[in-house]
């Protein structure tokens, strides 16, 4: 039995300690906002925050996440940066199919939490691990600038 703190709530989980956090979140806890994309830490769709740091939950074991603060898309709006990011995403109508957007929002939130005024290069650096097959990148970039209150290139 592992104890997880997700979005401020403590949850007891009965799963093999080596199970990727992604599948614990999705199947055991039934929180399906975090998405499965590649299972190999290549696409970023499964990004969650672990003590505020973006990690790929498909490559993070349950045991590695136990006892740490996990934030998912379901709870990110309760953080100041996450709320701003979601608002900017809505204002600019960022999503298309929407599947990768949870991961994009988690990465953007982590960026703005540590760097409130990122440059385009810093946005590139923080977001290049998140693939969007629909190609919402121009709007993601614009939305991060909007959330930060900065102007894009």
């Amino acid at each position: 039995m592992a104890r997880l703190t997700i979005n401020g709530k403590t949850r007891e989980v009965n799963a093999d300690p080596s199970t990727p956090l992604l599948w614990v979140i999705r199947d055991t806890l039934g929180m399906t906002g975090t998405k499965f994309g590649c299972g190999a830490q290549l696409c970023g769709a499964c990004t969650v925050l672990l003590d505020g740091v973006p990690v790929r939950s498909c490559g993070t074991s349950l045991s590695a996440a136990a006892g740490r603060k996990i934030t998912t898309i379901e709870g990110v709006g309760a953080t100041p940066a996450g709320k701003k990011v979601q608002q900017a995403w809505a204002e600019l109508d960022v999503p298309q199919c929407g599947y990768c957007q949870s991961g994009q929002i988690m990465s953007a939130t982590a960026l703005l939490t540590t760097n409130p005024n990122p440059t385009d290069a810093e946005i590139n650096g923080a977001m290049e691990g998140n693939i969007c097959r629909c190609g919402t990148y121009p709007r993601i970039r614009a939305a991060i600038h909007k959330a930060a209150g900065t102007k894009g290139a």
């Binding site: 299972g39 696409c43 809505a90 109508d93 199919c97 957007q101 097959r133 190609g135 990148y137 121009p138």
Partner: protein
């Protein structure tokens, strides 16, 4: 895809009139409605109105990012006179009324959704409005002409008012009007306006439900081992280890492989990976990329099915002052939507509930009925949001697999593929070869153009009835140039390479536009002419082409100096009744092509939502850039060599160029916008690279090595 049928206005209105016949066969109200205290009425198949004034509009196309979940209900809401911000949208079940009249099936593809629905859905909205007004007039005993509908309410003489919710039940019992007056576009409140999408909220807070998010009571999870060579079959297997692993409930063999069913997907997947399976790899076990292209090359020797035969190419070529020829090569591509294939099925002895991300509801129903032996009316099919589609989810192998597994175990099950399963078991965008030749007279004017293409045909497998005389209409899109060249010969040879193929975004436009727009650029260079002016001089009879070409050139600053190391390329096309030109600005850095800026001019006729049009243009540039930089599926020993995003790379944010869009104000009928743009970027970029380096890129993905 091209329009397989061109519905006339008459057809539209006839379809429209057929809509109002009360409840449509196949429509089943979700349980939530059945249980709720509110009563729900359906004036027609597209609209549900609750006694609580909830207005739900049914969307009969699959939402995979392209915005139909917003655009199509907008058309209904415009005429229904309801507040678009307050409507709800549900995805339609399979039903005759929901058939896409351009494709002949309830299918999302071919950039047809708006083109098919533009009038039909407004008629549906107007019919329901007229019925609601009549219901109010009947209730009040007044002339319907004295009543007016607005914002979900009917008002009548003497300040009488009734909400749609109060009128819906009576309205749904009325005979639908045979003819309705549609608004003049000048009166549109919503159509043509850049409204925000209604699906955004759920897609930024994690609540939007995709196929992979479905959960049914008592549901188990499945992972499936498929033959590494597509088409291979199970000879025997040993599941002893898998069966001993935690959570594993059952191991079952189905048509496509061996499935492990467990309490969680991770357990199922871990156990699947331990299966020891002996495969009969089938006829493709030795297939290689080299063999594929050799086959395509040999097919070129066959007589082509002629698409255009105009003038006398041989004679014109013999008299030409300059002759040139070139071969263009396109690779297989995987669709790779971000949501891997998955499906949830609950097959019982007398019913089935099937839920997931699909693009072809009718085929789903037909396949499910065939597998289960149930009658279509015993099968419920629900479409969720699609985490990308791009044509992949027209083919429903993954649905059939889930249905087979559920049938075998007698329990609800969710089958989820890994990314590796997905990339190695796709229906791939066909590879192709195109031989082009052309002749110029002494003034540099083109006098002859010849095109011969060989490629596998998707349609031969999926819709063989529309392949006639060796011509697959979905292999010949944009194969005819708009340019005024007197002598032309254009033909195709269908060649099955062995690897299974499917429709991918822009379908054959991508193959043909690359060859045509690269070669016309080569002809301009051979003529010593500016590539923009050269094209323009051949478009006197093509005003819509010429207009977008002019706009793109002008906005891109064509002919104006650029910083050292940069150059521009231009390209032009028509696809899905949309006219488009692009100018790409590129450099070459470290031997790799870098695209800095793309200027798009597009004339797509009337638009439903310019915001979504812009999204789709951006999307197409990223998709096209992915294809030209990276897109390549290769084969070795019959196996697809790329298994994940480290090998089949997709564009990432730092590589995304600046995209500038110029949309022509037009009153022409609507064109499609979900697909054409990606076909046009590769030739624009290749032409820019030529302008910069003098090197022609004739093979995708581009390599300067």
């Amino acid at each position: 895809m091209t329009a397989l049928k061109n519905p006339s206005r008459r057809t539209f209105l006839k379809t429209g009139a057929a809509l109002g016949g009360g409840l449509v066969i196949g429509v089943q109200l979700p349980q939530a409605f059945a249980k709720a205290a509110v009563t729900t009425s359906m004036p027609n198949a597209w609209i549900r109105i609750g006694s609580d004034n909830t207005v739900t509009i049914l969307c009969a196309r699959s939402e995979m990012g392209q915005g139909v979940v917003m655009a199509l209900p907008t058309l209904v809401a415009e005429e229904l006179e309801v507040d678009i911000k307050k409507i709800k949208v549900d995805f339609a079940p399979p039903g005759e009324v929901y058939i896409n009249s351009m494709l002949g099936g309830q299918l999302t593809g071919g950039s047809t959704s708006v083109r098919d629905g533009y009038e039909k859905l407004r008629v549906a909205g107007a019919q329901a409005r007229v019925m609601l007004v009549q219901a109010a007039a009947d209730k009040w005993g007044v002339d319907a002409a004295k009543c007016k509908a607005a914002n979900g309410m009917v008002t009548g003489p003497g300040g009488k008012k009734a909400t749609y919710g109060q009128l819906a039940e009576a309205a749904s019992k009325l005979t639908p009007p045979k003819e309705v007056q549609l608004k003049d576009p000048s009166q549109f409140r919503y159509v043509g306006k850049p409204l925000k999408r209604l699906d955004t909220a759920g897609k930024i807070n994690g609540t939007a439900q995709f196929g992979i998010d479905v959960k049914l009571p008592g549901m188990l999870y499945a992972a499936l081992a498929q033959c590494p060579v597509i088409g291979g079959k199970v000879v025997s297997y040993d599941a002893a280890k898998a069966k001993s692993m935690p959570g594993v409930r059952q191991v079952v063999q189905i048509t496509d492989g061996v499935a492990v069913v467990a309490d969680s997907w991770w357990q199922a997947k871990q156990a699947r990976d331990t299966l020891n399976i002996t495969w009969d790899e089938g006829p493709n076990k030795s297939l290689s990329t080299a063999a594929v292209y050799q086959g395509l090359s040999e097919a070129m020797a066959k007589t082509a099915a002629q698409i255009r035969q105009q003038g006398d190419v041989a004679q014109a070529m013999s008299g030409a002052a300059k002759k040139l020829e070139a071969t263009y090569e396109m690779p297989f591509l995987s669709h790779s939507p971000m949501e891997p294939m998955n499906f949830t099925a609950d097959v019982r002895s007398d019913s089935a509930m099937l839920i997931g991300s699909i693009q072809f509801q009718q085929m789903a129903l037909g396949m499910a009925a065939a597998i289960t032996g149930l009658k279509p009316e015993q099968i419920t099919i629900k479409t969720t949001y699609l985490g990308g589609g791009f044509g992949r989810r027209i083919d429903l192998d993954y649905m059939a697999q889930a249905v087979e597994i559920s049938k075998a175990i007698g329990k609800p099950v969710k089958l989820v593929w890994t990314r590796e399963d997905d990339m190695t078991h796709d229906f791939y965008r066909p590879a192709s070869l195109t031989n082009m030749s052309g002749g110029l007279d002494a003034d540099g004017k083109p006098v002859a153009l010849s095109l011969k293409m060989s490629s596998p045909s998707v349609t031969t497998r999926l819709f063989p009835q529309i392949v006639k005389d060796g011509v697959d209409p979905l292999m010949t899109e944009a194969i005819l140039v708009p340019y005024d060249i007197a002598n032309q010969s254009v033909g195709t040879v269908i060649h099955d390479t062995g690897l299974r193929v499917g429709y991918l975004r822009s379908v054959s436009h991508a193959l043909n536009v690359f060859a045509n727009e690269s070669f016309i650029d080569e002809m301009a260079a051979a003529a010593g002419k500016d590539p923009y002016q050269f094209r323009r001089s051949l478009l006197d009879k093509q005003p819509r082409f010429r207009n977008v070409l002019d706009i793109a050139a002008d906005k891109a600053g064509w002919g104006k100096p650029l910083p050292a190391g940069r150059a521009r390329g231009i390209a032009l096309m028509e696809g899905y009744e949309t006219y488009m030109a692009q100018v790409a600005e590129v450099s070459v850095e470290g031997g790799a092509v870098k695209v800095h800026r793309v200027v798009i001019a597009v004339d797509l006729g009337r638009m439903v939502n310019p915001n979504i049009v812009e999204q789709q243009l951006e999307s197409n540039i990223v998709f096209g850039l992915t294809a030209l930089l990276y897109g390549n599926i290769t084969l070795k020993d019959g196996r697809v060599e790329q298994t994940n995003f480290n090998q089949f790379k997709l564009l990432r944010m730092p590589e995304t160029p600046k995209i500038e869009m110029h949309i022509v104000k037009s009153t022409e009928k609507p064109g499609g916008i979900g697909e054409p743009g990606m076909a046009l970027l590769p030739p624009a970029v290749a032409n820019a690279v030529y302008a910069l380096t003098g090197k022609r890129l004739r093979k995708m993905p581009f390599s300067l090595a």
